[in-house]
């Protein structure tokens, strides 16, 4: 790791951070470092300046909102999320997903916003956040804050629809609807310290036996975490039907890589979706 010449900016307030971001657009933001430090070690990046966000303690919190939803600060770690009663209540599958990120050491340091910003198609929490209709709040010193639905954040492989002067500040989750049924599944390389081969978040809202909202999102099966619109549309208006899993091929485009194969990812995605829907169809 050749970081001997790197400059580090360590803001203490959000306002300072945004100012520094605006004046140093090339600076690489670093929060818990669990992705950035690996990229540095591998020589995948070698920036001259880092924007160290770890000191923004005001963003390290999870807050319950008046509408019953929760807002997760950009510096909140997986550990903080797992420990939050609000998140347990509003988004149990986010807790479940957070518990599968690396292991304790990573969960103690890694942040949800970091998972979003790193923009890996294999990011463990991203399908869950898509299924939960999460909004990402970004801010800049020039234009203030704005909210982007996560489903519109990614424009391509590791590409974010954010300006160079913006930083992620919050992740907002809507309140849990009493009729929501959710499911999380991660097929990784092993049971801990594992990168996803396929990862899935599902939320279906079933009222009087009829699906009136469906979110099916997968990771590691396309250049970005994807919402599976064909499957979602087919789920709407009837009972939860596991057979719609056959439509998944129209929503995903997995590839061969060092960790798995296109065929395995494709087949596994179909099978775990089918099993999940079978399970959700029985849930009352």
């Amino acid at each position: 790791m050749l970081t001997s010449h790197a400059n580090v900016l360590s803001p203490r307030t959000i306002a300072d951070a945004l100012d520094m971001r605006a004046t140093n657009p090339q600076a690489m933001p670093i929060a818990g470092g669990t992705d950035v430090m690996v990229a540095l070690e591998l020589g995948a990046v070698n920036p001259k300046t880092f924007l160290n966000l770890w000191g923004l303690r005001e963003l390290a919190e999870v807050n319950q909102r008046d509408d019953g939803g929760v807002s997760i600060g950009a510096l909140a770690t997986y550990r903080t999320i797992c420990a939050s009663e609000h998140v347990h209540h509003v988004a149990p599958i986010l807790v479940e997903a957070s518990r599968t990120v690396g292991a304790k050491q990573i969960q103690n340091r890694g942040t949800l916003a970091g998972n979003i910003a790193n923009a890996s198609p294999a990011g463990d929490t991203l399908p869950v956040l898509l299924a939960l209709d999460a909004d990402v709040e970004v801010a800049s010193s020039a234009r203030g804050a704005r909210r982007i639905p996560l489903s519109r954040l990614y424009s391509g492989y590791r590409q974010l629809n954010m300006d160079t002067d913006e930083l992620i500040t919050w992740v907002h989750l809507p309140p849990r609807h009493p009729n929501d049924r959710t499911h999380f599944r991660k097929v990784g390389t092993r049971l801990a310290q594992a990168i996803s081969k396929v990862v899935m978040g599902i939320r279906v809202r079933v009222e009087d036996g009829v699906v009136n909202e469906a979110r099916v999102a997968l990771g590691s099966v396309a250049p970005v975490p994807v919402r599976c619109h064909h499957v979602e549309n087919a789920l709407m208006g009837g009972a939860v039907d596991p057979a719609v899993s056959s439509l998944l091929s129209q929503d995903i485009a997995p590839i061969d890589d060092i960790r798995s194969t296109k065929a395995y990812r494709n087949g596994t995605a179909h099978r775990i979706l089918r099993s999940a829907l079978t399970h959700l169809s029985k849930e009352v």
Partner: protein, 158 residues
């Protein structure tokens, strides 16, 4: 930019180092402070051999830039002892065969100390969950899990 002065507490002792702020905490501990108990097995947060506690929480010190520990309290394996007494989990590792080649041992002990501070009577399953970020190639983990489960925390100041 030149080196920065960074201050933190290591095993209860104040330390001040002047280093490049993106230096890995692991390197600062091992090379600048000559606290070589924390080991490097992979450099990418997979093996856990470099595990230390930062303000009581276990982290991979190979993934923490030293700039982020300004003012923090850091505990390494060298700091688990109290008043010349081994931490009970160190004793348990000795008695139950938790260490073989020893290279992963410091990381396991630090991670186990974090667990035991919160739960002094963990089940085997809890222990496995808490230590899943530490790789060992010698023991098959059974004797490590046994060691932590059998650790007697009674009377140990937390």
């Amino acid at each position: 930019m030149s080196d920065q002065n960074i201050r933190f507490e290591l095993n209860g002792e104040p330390q001040s180092v002047t280093v490049t702020p993106m230096a890995r905490l692991l390197d600062v501990l091992r090379e600048d402070l000559r606290a070589t108990g924390s080991k490097e097995g992979c450099g990418e947060g997979e093996c856990g051999a470099c595990t230390v506690l930062v303000d009581g929480l276990s982290v991979n010190s190979c993934l923490v830039p030293v700039a982020q520990v300004e003012g923090a309290q850091i505990t390494t394996v060298e700091g688990l002892e109290r008043d010349d007494r081994l931490h009970p989990v160190q004793d348990a590792f000795l008695e139950h065969g938790g260490a073989q080649c020893g290279i992963c041992t410091p990381g396991f002990l630090v991670a186990a100390a974090e667990l035991l501070a919160a739960d002094d009577q963990p089940t085997p399953e809890t222990v496995r969950d808490a230590l899943a970020g530490n790789l060992c190639r010698c023991t098959g983990y059974q004797k490590i899990v046994d060691s932590v489960v059998k650790t007697v925390m009674e009377g140990w100041p937390c």
